[in-house]
Amino acid sequence: MIQYFAIALMLVGVYGLLTQKNVIKLIVSLNIFEVGLNVFIISVGYVSGGIAPILTSQNNTSALLYVDPLPQALVLTSIVIGVGVTALALAFARRLHNQYGTYNLDEMEGE
C-alpha cells in the first residue's frame, strides 16, 4: 500500500521542481522527492510478517523471518547524504540572495 503513495510523493516532488520559481521552494521539492524515494526503497525490502533485522534476546535466532536489511543500509547512508546536499544547496541560495536580494529566479535574470 505505502509503495503506491511513495511513488505519488516522488511525482509531487518532480511537479514542484518543474513549476516552482523560488529557490527555497525548489530545495523543498527536492527534499519531498527524496523522502518519497527513501520510503519506496525501504518498501521494496518489506516482507509481510517479517521482523526488524536485529537479533535480540527475544528474537534470538537468524532462522526467523526478517525483512531485507540491504535497502535499509542503503537508505541510512542516503539520508545522511541528503542533509549534505540540502546544506550545500541552501548555501548556494544564500549566496544568490546576497548578490541579488531575492530568492526568485525570474527576478535574478534582469541584472
Binding site: M1, I2, Q3, I7, A8, L11, V14, Y15, L18, T19, S43, V44, G45, Y46, V47, S48, A52, P53, I54, L55, T56, S57, N59, N60, T61, S62, A63, Y66, V67, D68, P69, L70, Q72, A73, L76, T77, I79, V80, I81, V83, G84, V85, A87, L88, L90, A91, F92, R94, R95, N98
Partner: protein, 257 residues
C-alpha cells in the same frame, strides 16, 4: 498553461513508472509486489545468516543464536550495522567522503571573517532554560546510540546527528553563542583519518581493505563484532562534528560585506 503542461508530464511519468513496475511481463527479474519480497533469492539471506564469504552452496549454514554464537563472520547483533560497517564498509567510507566534500563546499561558500548573525527572533524563556536541561541528555543519548550501534537500532549516523542537533539548539537558544569551529574541524579530520588507518590495518593484517581483524566475540555482547563498534564511534564523531560545522556556518554571517 505551464502548470497544465507540467501536470501532464508528471502524470505521464507516473503512468510509465506504474506500468514498468506492476504490469510488465513475467520475467525472472520481475518486481515483487509490496510485502512479497523473497530474501532467499537475494544476497540478503547471506547477510542475515552471517554467511556471505563462506561456501554457501555446499552446506546449509547453522543459525546464528543471540548470546551463544561465537566468532561469526561479523559479530554484530544488528544486521543493518553489519551491512553498513562490515560488509559494505568501503561504501560507507565513500559516503563519509561525500559528506565531507559537501561540508567543505558549505565552508567555502559561507567563508570569510564570521560574526554571529542577528536573528530576527528572540528566544523565549522556556527555550532558553529548557535547553540547559535537555542538552546533557541529548549528548549522552547520542553517545549511547553510536557506542551501542552494533546491538540496538541507531548507530554512528543517528548518534552524530543528535549531537549536531544539540549544537543547533545551543545556537537557537542563545543569540550570542559561538561554537569553536576549529575544534569541529580537528575532530572531523582525526576521526576521518583514523577510519582510513583502520582500513589500512585490515589490509596489512587480513589481506584486504577494511578487513575485520579483531576477534568478533559472542553475538550480543557489548565488546563484540571486532572493529565494527570502533568504526561506528569514529563515524559518529565525524558526522557529528561535520554537521555541527555546517550549522555553525549557517548561523553566522560575513562581517560587513
Amino acid at each position: 498553461m505551464k502548470q497544465a503542461v507540467s501536470i501532464v508530464l508528471v502524470l505521464l511519468l507516473g503512468a510509465f513508472i506504474f506500468t514498468a513496475l506492476y504490469f510488465a511481463d513475467s520475467s525472472p527479474l520481475q518486481f515483487k509486489p509490496y510485502g512479497d519480497a523473497d530474501l532467499s533469492g537475494r544476497v540478503s539471506q547471506g547477510y542475515v545468516d552471517k554467511n556471505v564469504t563462506a561456501d554457501a552452496a555446499s552446506e546449509e549454514p547453522a543459525a546464528v543464536v543471540y548470546g551463544e554464537t561465537k566468532n561469526a563472520e561479523t559479530g554484530s547483533a544488528n544486521i543493518v550495522t553489519s551491512v553498513v560497517v562490515n560488509y559494505r564498509s568501503f561504501d560507507t567510507l565513500g559516503e563519509v567522503t561525500v559528506l565531507f566534500v559537501a561540508a567543505l563546499g558549505v565552508g567555502l561558500l559561507l567563508s570569510g571573517k564570521r560574526r554571529r548573525q542577528e536573528a530576527a527572533f528572540q528566544p523565549s524563556f522556556i527555550l532558553k532554560h529548557g535547553v540547559r536541561i535537555v542538552l546533557g541528555i541529548m549528548v549522552i543519548f547520542g553517545v549511547y546510540l553510536f557506542t551501542h550501534g552494533h546491538l540496538t537500532p541507531g548507530g554512528g549516523f543517528s548518534g552524530g546527528s543528535i549531537i549536531a542537533a544539540a549544537v543547533l539548539l545551543l545556537y537557537v537558544s542563545d543569540n550570542a553563542f559561538k561554537a569553536k569551529v576549529k575544534a569541529f574541524k580537528i575532530a572531523e579530520g582525526v576521526a576521518g583519518s583514523l577510519y582510513v588507518v583502520a582500513g589500512l590495518l585490515g589490509l596489512a593484517l587480513g589481506g584486504y581493505f577494511l578487513y575485520n581483524f579483531l576477534p568478533t566475540g559472542v553475538v550480543g555482547d557489548l565488546l563484540s563484532a571486532g572493529i565494527v563498534p570502533i568504526v561506528y564511534i569514529l563515524i559518529g564523531l565525524k558526522v557529528g562534528s561535520e554537521i555541527s560545522g555546517v550549522i555553525a556556518g549557517f548561523a553566522t554571517e560575513e562581517e560587513a560585506l
